[in-house]
């Protein structure tokens, strides 16, 4: 584990923002921190960045209690991010890189590399105010990763990015993981979770309600629903009651069926029932999307909305 939180509690006055949060982030994974607005994601991220301290519980970084010395090994891209408008781009990147503990020469060399990579070197001497929003985001991304931190934290990284830059960012996140970095990112974009994340934790109402590897979670949410594509039906299809057809759809000479397996049936039983009647073109399990899992879990753990809140 690169990062481990043990029974973290954080209160803001009477409000408990985080309640007994215990999570582990494995070395070299992309870890998705999910949850509806106000669930406590940003608070948790601030605790990891030591911007705030937990009321109780401990955070371990690489096995040792998290301390200020670890801050240089963490790169953080906040959700609401800004730059000094009147400062020059290069000078500002240099300043922020040096605050992360890089020497002047080191920071300059690495920044030049990144600026070339993102093709914004021409902007080095321009004031930030002249940059487009997309270009400012590139600069912000660069200053987040320039000190080659072991842990990268992106809070809603795609918000405000155009699809082109979002794609660039995704590629860079995966490249950084390949180079050995561990990435935590919080997002509402469930498609990007399926695309990028190895592990996730879902926080709702200040508590962890779901935690684990994306594949396992999706499998655990399996509704035992299969999609089969058939051809060469000799007679109208009939299936036993243990294999109810949820929907069917035919096009040309292909028939696409969605079948839910009941508790006492297996996918082998489905194949066995179909084999004598037709040709099986394909068969696959339909796993619920992260989006569905998110909505389902949040609704289940949501206490009924009382009228006094309104």
């Amino acid at each position: 584990m690169l990062l481990e939180t043990q029974h973290i509690v954080k209160n803001f006055g009477d409000y408990r923002a985080l309640d007994d949060i215990s999570l582990g982030v494995r070395q070299g994974v992309v870890f998705g921190l999910l949850g509806p607005n106000g669930a406590g994601k940003t608070t948790l991220i601030r605790l990891i960045n030591r911007i705030a301290l937990p009321d109780s519980g401990t955070i371990l970084f690489d096995g040792a209690p998290l301390s200020d010395a670890h801050v240089s090994q963490i790169g953080y891209l906040p959700e609401e991010r800004g730059l000094y408008k009147k400062m020059r781009v290069g000078e500002q990147a240099l300043y922020l890189a040096r605050l992360k503990g890089l020497s002047h020469a080191d920071a300059l060399r690495r920044l030049r590399h990144w600026f070339d990579k993102f093709q914004i070197s021409d902007w080095w001497n321009r004031p930030v105010a002249e940059l487009s929003k997309g270009m400012q985001q590139k600069v912000q991304f660069i200053v987040t990763v320039v000190h080659q931190p072991r842990l990268l934290i992106f809070d809603e990284p795609f918000s405000g990015f155009d699809p082109l830059n979002a794609d660039l960012l995704k590629k860079e996140i995966l490249t950084l993981r390949e180079q050995g970095a561990t990435v935590i990112f919080s997002t509402h974009n469930m498609a990007s979770v399926e695309e990028l994340c190895d592990d996730i934790a879902l926080i709702n109402k200040s508590r962890v309600v779901l935690n684990g590897a994306v594949d396992e979670i999706r499998r655990s949410f399996s509704q035992r629903r299969y999609e089969v594509v058939l051809s060469d039906l000799s007679a109208p299809l009939s299936l036993p009651s243990s294999l109810p057809i949820v929907s069917s759809h035919s096009s040309a000479d292909l028939l696409t069926l969605t079948v839910d397996l009941t508790q006492d049936a297996s996918s082998n039983d489905l194949v066995a029932a179909l084999l004598p009647q037709c040709h099986i073109v394909s068969l696959r399990e339909i796993l619920p999307s992260m989006n569905d899992i998110f909505i389902q879990t949040v609704k289940e753990t949501q206490p009924s909305i009382s009228s006094s809140d309104c």
């Binding site: 960045n49 801050v71 963490i74 906040p78 609401e80 800004g82 730059l83 009147k86 400062m87 922020l96």
Partner: protein
């Protein structure tokens, strides 16, 4: 520590590089030079001649005396700025106001019927108000002639008059311990200057700290910064960086002002020579006929030597050291509080609300200055010069008058002792508020709900 240095460097470099910094740096010495040069040029510029027609029906001021039997000191005398013409009658004089060779004003003195001495005279003009120098000159000569007439009427000789008018008794205020004179005016001036300097410095640079904090908050760069360094480091770096900017600016002002004044003096050496000559002539002519308004000023201006004596009587070492001390700690105290006010605000308009509690003690000290000057060792002065939020300004006002060392040290100790407290308080407020937004909106909502 290294990070604080980086912050200090950024605060310093970005501010010193701004156009506004250099504009202010250049404008102030130019203003100083202008303040110095403009009166000089004006005094040397040949002034326009004004003409006054005199219609004197009383005869006191030489109007009816056509034989020139009267001595010269009972007639109006034309000077370098004003020429006087006697007119036979008021009508004739008034006609001259818009004649071919117009006069600027007509002086009319009514004929005396019952009273022996006229108490009333009038200066008529048409559409264009005559210059002030003209009015001064007329008034001065009226009084002088009247006085000369009275002296003559009561048979008082010039020597006797001089003896009466020049005899004065001098009241000194003396310190028994040092046996030296108090020179209260000089000390008041010095105290006012020093305390105003501290007031402006605290206000100007304190609000710069505040605006810097709000800027970082408003554009959200603070979110990026706080994961690299502690809020306290950011706050300290900003406060120190801006203090260095202030010191740089102040030094540049001193050097540039000095240079500007030096250039003026060097390039216009002849003018200065002329000026000093004119003053000499004026001095020589004090009792003579040639009287200009300048001369009048010279006569009424206080003798410069007590001022110089007073200036040398002040012990500058301790005053300067105290100034530096109170400037430094006054700034630090207020800058940290201003930083907290900035952290509480989201926008520039918010800062006006949150900085109000800080401007009140500053303004109050300023408003109470006259009362403190009246009694530099009074209860009010003592309180204000010991209370840490007012002591930097109030103590600087008192120091030239002499402050018991025990009080001075107590005030200093209290200021130094308060600083960690306010810094801690500010740091807590700063750390808690720097990442939260909408406090003023929340407060407003709370008040709305209550009402």
């Amino acid at each position: 520590m290294n990070k604080i240095l980086l912050v200090i460097r950024r605060e310093y470099v970005t501010r010193v590089r701004k156009k506004s910094f250099w504009l202010l740096t250049i404008v102030v010495p130019l203003l100083v030079a202008a303040l110095y040069a403009i009166p000089l040029y004006l005094s040397l510029k040949p002034t326009e001649q004004s003409v006054v027609a005199i219609a004197d029906e009383s005869g006191i001021f030489g109007g009816l005396d056509r034989n020139d039997t009267l001595s010269a000191d009972c007639r109006f005398v034309s000077g370098s700025n004003v020429t006087y013409r006697y007119a036979a009658s008021l009508e004739y004089a008034l006609r001259q106001l818009d004649g071919d060779d117009p006069v600027d004003a007509v002086l009319y003195v009514r004929s005396r019927s019952t009273q022996a001495i006229p108490t009333d005279a009038c200066l008529y003009y048409k559409s264009q108000l005559p210059p002030q120098t003209l009015r001064y000159d007329v008034d001065r000569q009226l009084q002088q002639i009247l006085r000369n007439r009275l002296l003559r009427a009561h048979d008082i000789s010039d020597d006797e008059y001089a003896l009466i008018s020049n005899t004065k008794i001098n009241l000194r205020t003396e310190d028994l311990e040092t046996g030296r004179e108090a020179f209260l005016e000089v000390k008041t001036g010095m105290g006012l200057l020093l305390s105003m300097l501290i007031y402006f410095a605290i206000f100007m640079f304190g609000s710069q700290v505040m605006r810097g904090v709000v800027e970082e908050k408003a554009n959200r760069i603070v979110e990026v910064l706080v994961c690299s360094l502690k809020p306290l480091q950011l706050m300290i770096g900003k406060i120190v960086g801006i203090a260095l900017v202030g010191i740089t600016q102040f030094l540049l002002w001193v050097v540039l002002s000095g240079a500007a004044l030096g250039i003026i003096q060097a390039s216009h050496a002849d003018l200065f020579h002329q000026a000093s000559q004119r003053h000499q002539v004026a001095e020589l002519a004090t009792k003579g006929v040639e009287a200009t308004s300048q001369m009048e000023q010279l006569q009424t201006a206080p003798d410069i030597s007590p001022l110089l004596e007073g200036l040398t009587a002040i012990n500058y070492g301790p005053v300067l050291l105290s100034f530096l001390f109170f400037f430094l700690f006054g700034y630090l105290l207020y800058a940290s509080l201003f930083a907290a006010a900035g952290a509480l605000s989201d926008t520039d308009t918010d800062t006006q609300i949150f900085s109000l509690p800080l401007t009140v003690p500053l303004l109050l000290t300023l408003l109470l200055m006259p009362a403190m000057i009246n009694a530099p060792s009074g209860t009010l002065s003592q309180f204000l010069s010991i209370f840490p939020l007012t002591s930097p300004i109030a103590m600087m006002l008192r120091i030239p008058f002499g402050v018991p060392l025990s009080q001075l040290y107590f005030s200093m100790a209290l200021l130094v002792g308060t600083f960690p407290l306010t810094a801690w308080l500010s740091a807590v407020i700063y750390r808690r508020s720097i990442l939260s937004y909408g406090l003023s909106a929340r407060l407003a909502a709370r008040f709305r709900r209550k009402s």
